[in-house]
C-alpha cells in the first residue's frame, strides 16, 4: 500500500474545458451570461423580454439547454436571433465540453452577447464553470422566498438575481422582505431585479444592467 498526495480539484477536467470556452469567447469579443434557475422560473420568458431591449445596441445569440425537445430554441429563434439547442438527455446541467462543441456551430464573430440558458436546476449548474462572463440567477415568486439560503452556491456566485413573476406576489405567501434579507446574508452586494415577464414590469432595469455589464467587460462592442 502506498499513499499518494494529489490535491487536485475534482472538477478540474471541466475547468480546463471552461478555460478553452473563455479563451474562444475572449478572442471573438463575446460576453456570455449563464442563466441558472429552476424549471418554470421563466428563463426563456426572460430571454424573450430581454433580447428586444438589447437589440438596438447588441447582437445577441443564445444557447438553449434542456433534457429534451427544441421548444425553447424555437421560442427564442422566433425573436430573429441565432440559437443553438443542446439536449442533455438525462443530464441535469450542461458541462463545459458541450458549450465548447456548441461554439463550433455558432457564428461567434456576429455576436456581442451570448445568453446560455442552462438546464432548469438550482444545484448542478452552480457547480460547473462554463467559461461564462457572469452567472445570473433566475428565481420566481411561486418557488418561495427561502431559496437563497437553501442554494447558497448559486446565490453567492451569481452577479445578478432576477426575481420573476412579481405580478403573482399578492397571491402567494412570498415575503419580499424575507427574500431580500436572506439574499443579502448570502451575497450582500448582488443587484436584484424584481420583474414580471408577463407584464414587462422591471425588465428595463434588468436589461440596462445587462447592457452595462457587457460594456464593463471591455470587449469594445458598445
Amino acid at each position: 500500500m502506498k499513499e499518494i498526495p494529489v490535491l487536485q480539484n475534482i472538477l478540474r477536467a471541466n475547468e480546463e474545458l471552461a478555460g478553452q470556452v473563455r479563451r474562444r469567447l475572449a478572442e471573438a469579443g463575446v460576453v456570455a451570461f449563464n442563466l441558472i434557475g429552476s424549471p418554470g422560473a421563466g428563463k426563456t420568458s426572460l430571454l424573450e423580454r430581454t433580447v428586444p431591449c438589447l437589440r438596438a445596441d447588441l447582437r445577441v445569440a443564445a444557447i438553449e439547454a434542456d433534457c429534451a425537445t427544441a421548444r425553447d430554441a424555437e421560442r427564442v429563434r422566433a425573436l430573429g436571433i441565432e440559437v443553438l439547442q443542446i439536449n442533455t438527455g438525462k443530464g441535469c446541467h450542461i458541462p463545459a465540453h458541450l458549450v465548447l462543441q456548441a461554439l463550433d456551430n455558432l457564428a461567434l464573430g456576429e455576436a456581442d452577447l451570448l445568453l446560455i440558458e442552462n438546464v432548469g436546476n438550482l444545484v448542478c449548474p452552480s457547480e460547473l464553470d462554463l467559461g461564462e462572463t457572469a452567472k445570473i440567477a433566475v428565481i420566481s415568486v411561486p418557488e418561495g422566498d427561502d431559496k437563497p439560503q437553501k442554494y447558497p452556491m448559486l446565490f453567492r456566485q451569481c452577479e445578478a438575481v432576477v426575481l420573476n413573476k412579481i405580478d403573482l406576489i399578492s397571491h402567494t405567501p412570498f415575503s419580499r422582505e424575507r427574500f431580500e434579507s436572506d439574499l443579502r446574508a448570502v451575497n450582500p452586494q448582488v443587484p436584484l431585479f424584481a420583474v414580471s415577464c408577463r407584464t414587462g414590469e422591471g425588465i428595463d432595469a434588468w436589461a440596462g444592467w445587462a447592457r452595462e455589464r457587457v460594456r464593463a467587460a471591455g470587449t469594445g462592442r458598445i
Binding site: M1, Q149, P188
Partner: protein, 127 residues
C-alpha cells in the same frame, strides 16, 4: 443528485492517476468537500461505488473530509467559521467578509496497491 456528477468526475480522475502510476488497485480515496457544496456524503459514497465498480478503484474506501465555511472579516480582521452561509462576522457583525474556505471539492490523496514497477513511483509519468 449533483453527487452523481461529482462521483463521475472523481472516478475518472482517480482512474487517470492510477493509470499514470501503473497501479493495479486503488484501495482508498480521500477527498475534501466544503460545506457550501451541499453534498450529502451517503449519496456521494453510493455514487462513487456505482461509477467505479468496473474500474481500478472498485471497492475502494471513499473518505470524505468535511470543510467548514470560514470567513475573514475585513472590518475587525477576525477569522471565523460559520454554521450557515450567512456572511456576517460573528465577532463584529460586519457584512464585509471574505470567504476563505467552504467551497472545496478536492481530491486530497489516494492509496494504491501493487504498483508493477516500484521505480515508477519515484518518476511519475508526466501528463
Amino acid at each position: 443528485m449533483h453527487e452523481y456528477a461529482i462521483a463521475q468526475a472523481l472516478a475518472e480522475q482517480v482512474s487517470k492517476i492510477a493509470r499514470e502510476r501503473d497501479a493495479r488497485a486503488v484501495t482508498r480515496v480521500v477527498i475534501q468537500v466544503g460545506k457550501l457544496r451541499g453534498v450529502i456524503p451517503e449519496i456521494l459514497q453510493w455514487g462513487f461505488e456505482v461509477v467505479s465498480a468496473d474500474s481500478v478503484a472498485a471497492g475502494a474506501e471513499l473518505v470524505i473530509e468535511a470543510v467548514a465555511i470560514a470567513v475573514r472579516c475585513q472590518t475587525c480582521g477576525a477569522h471565523s467559521e460559520l454554521d450557515a452561509p450567512l456572511y456576517l462576522c460573528p465577532i463584529c457583525a460586519s457584512t464585509d467578509v471574505v470567504q476563505i474556505a467552504g467551497d472545496e471539492l478536492i481530491l486530497k490523496s489516494l492509496e494504491i496497491g501493487d504498483e508493477r514497477d516500484s521505480s515508477s513511483a519515484e518518476h511519475p509519468a508526466s501528463e
